[in-house]
């Protein structure tokens, strides 16, 4: 009598186990469905379309002929593309490391403050990040206006005469870099402050008992322990700054003499002004690959640097 009863129980247990598993799968499906839906429709499908488009001569709207790698071949002989790419890299050089260094200095200073004062100062530094890009560029266009800008006397004091910065090929990129750093720096400060708060206070106490000067405390405790966050900030900045478009579009429109022309600007012009959907897609694909390669390379390099 016992044996059949037991096997029946065993079957029931297996049934309920299967049932529980099905229920879990259903819940998992329900919870991930909204994201999957949005991801497929608004990200994966457009990505596929861009890749497909880059092998055709399609206009912006409507289908085109398959032309293989012709768009990419054309890109290799496009001098404006290489100018743009170079300007992009120049901009990265002007922003990524400087903004990280400035953010680190600000974060170190702010973390010395206490309580409300710290919150207030942090808010002040974060405020520009909240502004939309059009407002940011308007503020700076006014401040740097050739005739009425309040910063022109400062420029005149250094160079001897006022400079129309967004119409001068030597000034335009560095000035856009300054505007960008002012705009986005608050976020980096926030990340680094969070990193600094993660370093326990007693490590500094132990270091000061061990005889470390403030300078040694920074280089031997703060810097190595903050490095993962610093590497993250550097990588995020690299990706962000390679995607430069709005500030240039609003402040200098790529000029003068294409000295602030960047890759996304060229893509924008080909797609929306010259109606070359296929060629614009090829440009987008190349920029995408550049960003992936450079950022992965940088992150790996930084990790190796951190481990040493």
């Amino acid at each position: 009598m016992g044996a059949p009863g037991q096997s029946l129980q065993g079957e029931e247990a297996a049934m309920s186990k299967a049932k529980r598993r099905r229920r879990e799968l259903r819940a998992a499906g329900l919870l991930t469905a909204p994201f999957l839906f949005v991801f497929l429709i608004f990200f994966l499908y457009p990505t596929y379309k861009v890749i497909a488009l880059s092998f055709t001569d399609a206009p912006l709207i409507g289908d085109g002929q398959w032309i293989g790698l012709a768009n990419y071949a054309k890109l290799l002989n496009d001098r404006l593309f290489f100018t743009s790419l170079w300007n992009n890299l120049y901009f990265v050089l002007l922003t990524v490391v400087p903004t990280t260094v400035i953010a680190l200095l600000i974060a170190l200073a702010v973390s010395k403050l206490k309580g409300r004062m710290q919150a207030l100062v942090l808010t002040l530094f974060f405020l520009p990040y909240v502004l939309p890009v059009s407002v940011v560029t308007l503020i700076w266009a006014w401040m740097l206006d050739f005739q009425f800008g309040i910063l022109q006397p400062l420029i005149a004091a250094v160079t001897g005469k006022p400079v129309p910065v967004f119409r001068n090929p030597y000034w335009v990129m560095p000035m856009i870099a300054v505007v960008t750093i002012w705009w986005t720096n608050g976020f980096n400060v926030l990340l680094l402050i969070a990193g600094l708060r993660n370093i326990p206070e007693d490590l500094y106490e132990a270091a000061s008992l061990d005889g470390a000067t403030p300078w040694q405390r920074f280089w031997r405790v703060t810097w190595p322990l903050l490095w993962p966050v610093t590497a993250l900030v550097l990588t995020l900045q690299l990706i962000l700054q390679l995607k430069l478009f709005d500030q240039v579009y609003l402040l200098s429109n790529g000029g003068p003499f294409n000295s602030s022309y960047v890759v996304l600007m060229q893509m924008y012009r080909e797609a929306f002004q010259l109606n070359n959907g296929g060629y614009a897609s090829a440009i987008a694909m190349v920029l995408f690959l550049v960003i992936v390669i450079v950022s992965v390379l940088q992150f790996q390099l930084l990790r190796i640097g951190g481990r040493k």
Binding site: E205, L209, D210, V221, L225
Partner: protein, 361 residues
């Protein structure tokens, strides 16, 4: 007199309007193992951090050896500290953690290597020198923290609750190792703990702190046998002392006769050299091991919980009035749970305190 050790002269500390240390004098001789013990918030850690130089001293003077270090930087005081959290540098190996202070001082490589390996040998860390702190167990991390202190060869070692993050078994083991280390190094050590068992087992001198004052200091057993007030009597000893309120019934030849409140049929003779006047209210303290089970007159205790530890057992119960009582039984296994027992204090083992909590001798 002042040539060695650590000496505090009316040291005070306040955080804003809050007085944490309210005037502490102490003399810790060279080579002594001193323990600061007290409940949390009594200021013991603050006092240690003031000796280390991690907290500023509001008033008074701190001497290490014959140097006044009150306003010196932590690094110049000749002290090394072991933190409760160990405070190991997580990005450095065990070796580099221990070598840190010597590297900062730019000592020659051979000297650093010699000192680190010697300390690692003492602490059985030789096989772990290349590991990062995260790869070590709690006890090993604790040893690295001690090693970092040893390498600096300080005049004074400071320990801030170093064992409280370890599990019970490891705590006992590390306690022994610390005692052996102290014998081997012979250096002055100051140790902060809230655990009075650690204090009793490690200390040459215990300083009991409460409310920013030193309540009593002395050798562990002196504090146990001869507490100077009710707080020390209750704090030192585990399980803690029983307290009963009582009134002075009469004076006898060499002391007083007291009657316990709510116990009309029991009077006790207590020898006192300065007996209080008749009718005064006092508090009596009796340790659990000095309450003897008897068949005659005594305190009737209803035992509700019996903690049987094998060798000894602690019987927890209540008097008829509701006061809690603990008494200890050794070497017997009675199963007293749920029974009513009669206990009497061992003669001569009753402490008398006045209503302020001060001891009446």
């Amino acid at each position: 007199m002042k040539a060695t050790g650590v000496h505090l002269k009316s040291v005070k500390k306040n955080f804003g309007a809050v007085d944490v240390i309210r005037g502490v004098d102490m003399d810790i001789e060279r080579g002594q193992f001193a323990v600061f013990v007290g409940p949390s918030g009594c200021g013991k850690s603050t006092l240690l951090r003031m000796i280390a130089g991690l907290e500023e001293t509001s008033d008074g003077e701190i001497f290490i050896g014959d140097r006044d270090v009150t306003n010196e930087d932590p690094a110049d005081r000749g002290v090394a500290m072991v933190f409760q959290s160990y405070a190991l540098y997580p990005h450095l190996s065990v070796y580099e953690n221990m070598a840190f202070s010597l590297r900062l001082a730019k000592r020659p490589k051979a000297e650093i290597d010699g000192k680190v390996r010697e300390a690692a040998g003492i602490l059985q860390l030789a096989e772990h020198l290349e590991k990062k702190p995260a790869q070590l167990s709690g006890g090993q991390r604790q040893r690295v923290a001690i090693g970092r202190a040893i390498v600096r060869a300080p005049d004074v070692f400071l320990f801030d609750e170093p064992l409280s993050n370890l599990d019970a078994e490891l705590r006992v083991q590390m306690r022994l190792e610390l005692a052996r280390l102290h014998q081997k190094l012979g250096a002055t050590m100051i140790y902060v703990t809230h655990d009075q068992v650690e204090a009793m087992t490690l200390a040459d001198t215990i300083f009991v702190l409460q409310g920013g004052h030193v309540q009593q200091s002395g050798a562990p057993l002196d504090l146990y046998d001869d507490p100077s007030n009710r707080f020390v009597a209750g704090f030192i000893g585990s399980p803690s002392m029983n307290f009963f309120s009582a009134t002075i019934e009469d004076r006898s030849e060499d002391g007083v006769v007291v009657r316990l409140t709510g116990q009309p049929d029991l009077t006790l003779d207590v020898p006192l050299s300065q007996p209080p006047s008749k009718g005064a209210s006092v508090e009596l303290g009796v340790r659990p091991e000095h309450l003897i089970v008897s068949q005659s007159e005594g305190l009737r205790v209803t035992v509700d919980v019996a903690e049987e530890l094998g060798g000894v057992s602690y019987q927890h119960g209540t008097l008829e009035g509701g006061d809690a009582v603990i008494f200890q039984q050794a070497g017997v296994r009675h199963g007293m749970h749920g029974t009513v027992q009669t206990v009497t204090p061992e003669p001569g083992r009753v402490f008398v305190f006045d209503t302020e909590g001060e001891r009446i001798r």
